[in-house]
């Protein structure tokens, strides 16, 4: 389904790419690592202290209290130093990793907006959002804890091994021999756990989607008494998620304590073998006891290993998902600085043998070849599904044609810089999406530097002043999420005012006033006409009043332009337009 790029890339390569994306990760890494080494070294204090106390302090018939006191003091000092090192390391780590993650989020977010609408729509909204939120959070666990634990654990294993070997190489071999099977088993367990968690994540996604239906579709669900069916769907999803979680937990519960048992076997083996070696005189009793303490040091990396490996894999998959966004080349790309900037003024449009098919679908536009002269008012009409919206999306370069090209003032759309294009061409889509804020904030969205006076002027010019005055807080009325606290028509009014204030050279209305009452629509049309004189205007509408007023009408039928010309001409000849018009007037004329 998703059109996002999914490269087969090795874990290491992903990791490298991930680190390169956020240079902050590497900042001061050497210092952090040095602190980490010191902090870890502190862990051998206890085994050494125990060994020293037993072998030197308690060796004689009488304990050597003076020695023990000195040893304990020295060790305490070391503990304090280690703690300070650990603190410094943590602070550095948090700072660099959080900065790096913020960078990743920002880059990912920006890139999502660079992708074409088609690519964006190939993913569930929620999934797209998680690519800059929870997927990035997944990396943070690893960067702040797991990554270092891997380094430190390896270090700890090495240090413990070296120290153990210093005490007795035979016992060291024994310990390794006992643990070796575990080191083979752990990656297997980890894969098992990772798969289980992947399932949990998928089920969680399904569950959230099911839950969101009950909220977003609340009106439809009630109107059709679909409560039971919705509840059933939710129950199934919730139960599936619970089962997946329980399964993952069971796997962990079965594998996690294993190290505990293996460690005990190692301890028992060391005690038994150590005693034999001790009898031979090749190891002191303090060394043997210290060895037992070292084993606890030895198992803690292994105990956390599955968890750490899991974090590592989570981080890799998090990176993969963010990289999938960043690696997807914007199929409708901004030519950037190489592109052309068009001077402002009336715009002419030319479609040159344009064909279009949605990905994986049949062609919906066939060889559309048409010219729209500057300063004309063009109406686009046609049956439902005939390709009008598709035409609009190509004209505003939300998509690129499969064949042919679209020219603006003779320049291929693909060569025009987005900053210039968006300033000159603005489309008002049918569902007036509003942001959660006030009316004024939404209207200003198209031109952030507009003053309150500008907004009021625009409102007045569009003849909406009375309507705004009738609202409880005027321009400061909150519109609610997606504009939910306005009526459908009111939402369209705001969306139109927003585009109007943006003041483009070509205004494209895709059924932008379909829910507005006729009187208001006529008033709006007249206001726009005043403005669009000297500008180009393209409007798509099922209400043919718009077509009657246009300089030229483009009639779409099954993806082709079958007729074009002014109203008077088209209505006189038999054809699609005459039919459309007949059914329109049969209703509107009393």
């Amino acid at each position: 389904m998703s059109a996002l790029h999914t490269a087969e890339r090795s874990a290491l390569e992903t990791f490298r790419r991930g680190l390169n994306l956020s240079p902050e990760f590497r900042r001061g890494l050497a210092g952090t690592l040095a602190l980490a080494v010191l902090a870890t070294a502190g862990r051998v204090i206890i085994p050494i202290a125990v060994q020293q106390v037993i072998d030197n302090g308690l060796a004689g018939p009488e304990p050597d209290v003076g020695f023990v006191r000195a040893a304990v003091l020295a060790c305490a000092l070391a503990v304090v130093l280690t703690t300070v090192c650990a603190y410094l390391m943590n602070v550095r780590l948090y700072r660099s990793s959080e900065s790096g993650l913020a960078t990743l989020r920002r880059k990912g977010f920006r890139h999502v907006h660079d992708l074409s609408v088609l690519t964006q729509n190939s993913e569930r909204r929620g999934a797209l959002v998680s690519r800059v939120t929870s997927d990035v959070d997944q990396i943070s666990q690893f960067m702040q804890w797991g990554g270092l634990v891997i380094i430190v654990s390896v270090g700890q294993l090495l240090v413990a091994t070296v120290l153990m070997a210093a005490y007795s190489w035979q016992l060291t071999l024994l310990v390794w021999a006992v643990f070796l099977p575990l080191t083979f088993a752990l990656p297997r367990f980890q894969r098992l756990i990772a798969r289980a968690y992947l399932r949990v994540r998928e089920r969680t996604g399904d569950m959230l989607a099911a839950i969101s239906e009950s909220v977003v579709g609340s009106a439809v669900i009630r109107a059709y008494a679909a409560e039971d069916r919705t509840a059933r769907r939710i129950d199934e999803a919730v139960e599936a998620q619970r089962k997946a979680q329980a399964r993952a937990q069971t796997i962990i519960a079965l594998t996690f304590p294993l190290t505990e048992v293996v460690a005990a076997v190692a301890v028992a083996a060391v005690v038994l073998a150590g005693v034999r070696l001790g009898v031979d005189g090749s190891i002191s009793r303090g060394q043997l006891v210290a060895f037992l303490f070292l084993i606890t040091l030895f198992i803690s990396p292994l105990q956390t290993a599955t968890e750490v490996l899991n974090e590592a894999q989570n981080a890799i998959s998090g990176w993969r998902r963010v990289l999938a966004v960043l690696d997807t080349p914007p199929d409708v790309a901004d030519p950037g600085p190489d592109g052309r900037t068009l001077p402002r003024g009336p715009i002419g449009v030319r479609f040159e043998h344009v064909s279009f098919a949605y990905p994986g679908g049949p062609p919906v536009l066939h060889d559309v070849d048409v010219e729209i002269a500057p300063c004309t008012k063009v109406a686009v009409v046609g049956e439902t599904g005939s390709g009008k919206t598709t035409f609009a999306k190509l004209l505003t370069r939300l998509m690129d044609p499969t064949e042919g090209r679209v020219l603006l003032d003779g320049v291929d759309l693909r060569e025009i810089r987005f900053s210039s294009l968006r300033e000159r061409v603005v489309m008002v889509p049918q569902d007036g999406f509003l942001f959660d804020g006030t009316l004024a904030e939404n209207i200003r969205y198209g031109r952030p530097d507009a003053t309150d006076a500008d907004i009021e002027l625009a409102i007045t010019e569009l003849g909406l002043a009375d309507w705004v005055a009738g609202l409880p807080a005027g321009l400061d009325t909150p519109v609610g999420q997606r504009g939910e606290s306005l009526s459908a028509g009111e939402r369209q009014l705001v969306a139109l005012a927003r585009a109007y204030l943006a003041d483009p050279d070509l205004l494209l209305l895709d059924e932008a006033t379909s829910a507005v009452d006729p009187a208001t629509e006529v008033r709006l049309a007249r206001a726009l006409e005043g403005v669009t004189r000297g500008r180009t205007a393209v409007s798509i509408a099922h209400r043919l009043s718009t077509a009657e007023a246009a300089d030229e009408i483009l009639v779409f039928d099954r993806g082709r332009i079958v007729q074009r010309g002014p109203h008077a001409e088209l209505v006189a000849q038999p054809g699609v337009y005459a039919d459309l018009y007949a059914s329109w007037t049969s209703g509107t004329r009393s």
Binding site: A39, R106, R125, G463
Partner: protein
């Protein structure tokens, strides 16, 4: 540095910064929340606690086993050069045996603590969503979508988060008590060290969580805000693109992301300080044990083996003891999450149903009396609306944008209940009708098309039992949707995408229409249901309805004359009041507001024709003519 590997950190959205500190009030409330869980899952919870207690006891026992082995195997062997095989075997068995039991304890605790937590989550999610489905639409109007979604996801997670570490914490209490007894039995003076160190660790934990909670809550809140911005911004991607506002959106997001970064760093600072401190405490404890132990050894109070045992015990206790801190740390968030869930669960005003059955057949009889409704009860958007639709009749509701038509439509099928007045179907007040009774009789096609991410068939039937494919096709045919549906790659089984994104606007609308027609309703309410459909298709739909006709009473909200002309009666609304009722012709004749509204196109065209005719004339006359041609509709309207 070994951080809470046991703790799962839910991605909680939207915990507002209330009650974020570990205070006595929060503790009390938190215990209440936990009590709810214990009462709901007593068996599993008990198993988890027992397993945890086993783990706690065996942790202490394992140090005792090691001490025993040191005392009876290692030291004698070094002293005497040999030791009985039986003793050695016993030592090894003790060590491995306690470890096995401990492992069972760990596994059991983890599994069952998880089971309890997940069951409670699932239970809460079911309860919360059931409530969403039960509560009236008016309640939904008052609560933003995002908030409701986070209630069911992250708030639920937060509420039950303490359940994961809780059994472990209880096990730790057992462990501490056992350890205390073990040490006291070994040597009371050595125990003194323990009694200093353990409370110190506990206190440090309390301080830690008090410092951390507010910061963590803030970070959590910001995480929710970051996600909200991303959601809204991606939702409105089309607007962002068409207005070229990508950079501004990126800046808005970056500002929040940076705030989140700073909040996380602040959290990191506290964690970075307290984690190493908590690690250092038991280490210092061991050193103290060694020192005091040596003195006690000198005095003959203990043996060397006991000293090793106590020292080992300290290293073992260091980590689990922090489980107490995790529970403390999760409590404030849990309390906030639970409070928000309760807010949903305790919400009243859920629709009450009567027992009346609507048994009639054929078109329904609709009476509307004195309906008054306001999203804010102080400012009604509908005020004293009354009209009647006799069986089989078609009534058109007409009114300017924002006059309250959609609100009225929702009242007619009882999506919301009026603040005053009543809607009667076949003489029965909708509020007296049994549950599910209204929707079995009346169908609304809302103005805002909503399609589920499901197949075409699923969207039409919405799970209604007994709808055959023939009936689905018949409905699609009536809605003029059969043509494009049969052209879809998988026909009825084609998935339509999120909110129907792979269909054109008119196609979506026709599916919504088919959904209503498939149930052969006795009352059909069409709220601007053909706005995205061209006149020809609309005409065919209307003709189809009329042919199938007489079967339903139809309330139609529309502006198109074709639709209105079909109606037997027109109700003209303005600012929530009925201005006039009558046939289309009557209203045209006597209601100026109505006339202005429905004849706007005609007058517009007449004016244009006049303009065209006068184009040859001098410019001055044109202006005069135009000014006289059309009155300002708004001013004439309904005064």
């Amino acid at each position: 540095m070994i951080r809470s590997t046991e703790r799962n950190r839910p991605n909680s959205r939207g915990i507002i910064g209330v009650a974020t500190k570990v205070s006595p009030a929060v503790m009390r409330k938190g215990i209440q929340v936990i009590w709810v869980a214990i009462r709901s899952e007593p068996m599993r919870f008990t198993v988890a606690v027992l397993a945890s207690a086993l783990y706690g006891t065996m942790t202490v026992a394992s140090s005792w086993a090691l001490g025993w082995a040191t005392e009876n195997v290692v030291f004698p062997a070094f002293a005497e050069g040999d030791v009985a095989t039986a003793t050695m075997a016993a030592g090894a068995l003790l060590i491995v045996g306690t470890a096995l039991l401990k492992a069972i304890g760990i596994g059991g605790r983890r599994a069952f603590a998880g089971f309890v937590q997940y069951r409670m989550q699932a239970r809460s999610r079911r309860d919360v969503t059931r409530q969403y489905l039960r509560l009236p639409l008016a309640w939904h109007h008052r609560h933003p979508t995002g908030q409701l979604l986070s209630n069911a996801s992250s708030d639920v997670e937060a509420a039950w988060a303490p359940l994961a570490p809780l059994p472990m914490a209880l096990g730790v209490v057992v462990m501490l008590v056992t350890a205390a007894v073990a040490i006291v039995l070994t040597d009371p003076l050595l125990a003194l060290v323990g009694f200093l160190v353990f409370p110190a660790i506990f206190l440090l934990n309390v301080v830690y969580q008090r410092r951390l909670s507010p910061l963590a809550t803030r970070a959590q809140q910001l995480r929710a805000e970051v996600s909200e911005i991303a959601h809204e911004s991606f939702d409105g991607a089309l607007v962002v693109k068409t207005l070229g506002r990508e950079d501004a959106e990126a800046a808005r997001f970056a500002a929040k992301a940076n705030e989140l970064r700073d909040a996380n760093i602040a959290v990191g600072r506290v964690r970075g300080l307290f984690d190493p401190l908590l690690d250092a405490m038991p280490t210092l404890g061991v050193l103290a044990v060694l020192l005091v132990g040596t003195l006690r050894l000198e005095a003959g109070g203990i043996t060397a083996g006991e000293l090793v045992q106590v020292a080992y015990l300290f290293t073992l206790l260091a980590w689990p003891i922090r489980a107490l801190g995790w529970v403390l740390g999760e409590l404030p968030r849990s309390v906030v999450g639970w409070t928000r869930i309760r807010h949903v669960l305790d919400a009243t005003g859920s629709m009450t149903y009567g027992t009346a059955r609507l048994t009639g057949t054929g078109p329904a009889h609709l009476e509307v009396r004195d309906l008054t409704y306001g999203y804010d009860p102080e400012a009604p958007v509908l005020d004293g609306v009354s009209f009647e639709a006799r069986p089989g009749r078609t009534v058109a509701i007409v009114g300017p944008t924002g006059s309250g038509k959609s609100t009225l439509a929702q009242l007619l099928v009882r999506l919301i209940d009026p603040q005053r007045g009543e809607v009667r179907l076949d003489g029965v007040d909708l509020r007296d009708v049994e549950r599910g009774g209204v929707s079995a009789v009346a169908a609304l096609v809302p103005q805002q098309t909503f399609l589920f991410d499901d197949t075409v068939r699923g969207n039409v039937t919405l799970g209604l039992p007994g709808i055959t494919d023939e009936r689905v096709w018949a409905a699609l045919r009536l809605a003029q949707a059969d043509g494009f549906v049969s052209a879809l790659p998988q026909g009825l089984d084609t998935r339509v995408g999120e909110r129907g994104s792979s269909l054109s606007g008119g196609q979506r609308q026709r599916l919504a229409l088919a959904r209503a027609l498939a149930r052969s309703p006795r009352l059909l309410v069409l709220d601007d249901a053909t706005s995205s459909v061209d006149a020809q298709v609309e005409r065919r739909i209307l003709e189809g309805l009329r042919e199938a006709g007489g079967a339903a009473t139809v309330i139609v909200i529309a502006y198109r004359m074709a639709t209105i002309a079909l109606a037997d009666e027109v109700v003209y609304l303005e600012r929530g009041r009925v201005v006039d009722r009558g046939t289309h012709e009557e209203l045209l004749a006597r209601c100026p507001g109505y006339r202005d509204l429905v004849t706007a196109y005609e007058r517009e065209e007449a004016e244009r024709a006049a303009l065209r005719a006068q184009e040859e004339k001098p410019a001055g006359e044109v202006v005069a003519d135009a000014a006289e041609g059309v009155g300002e509709p708004e001013e004439v309207a309904g005064r």
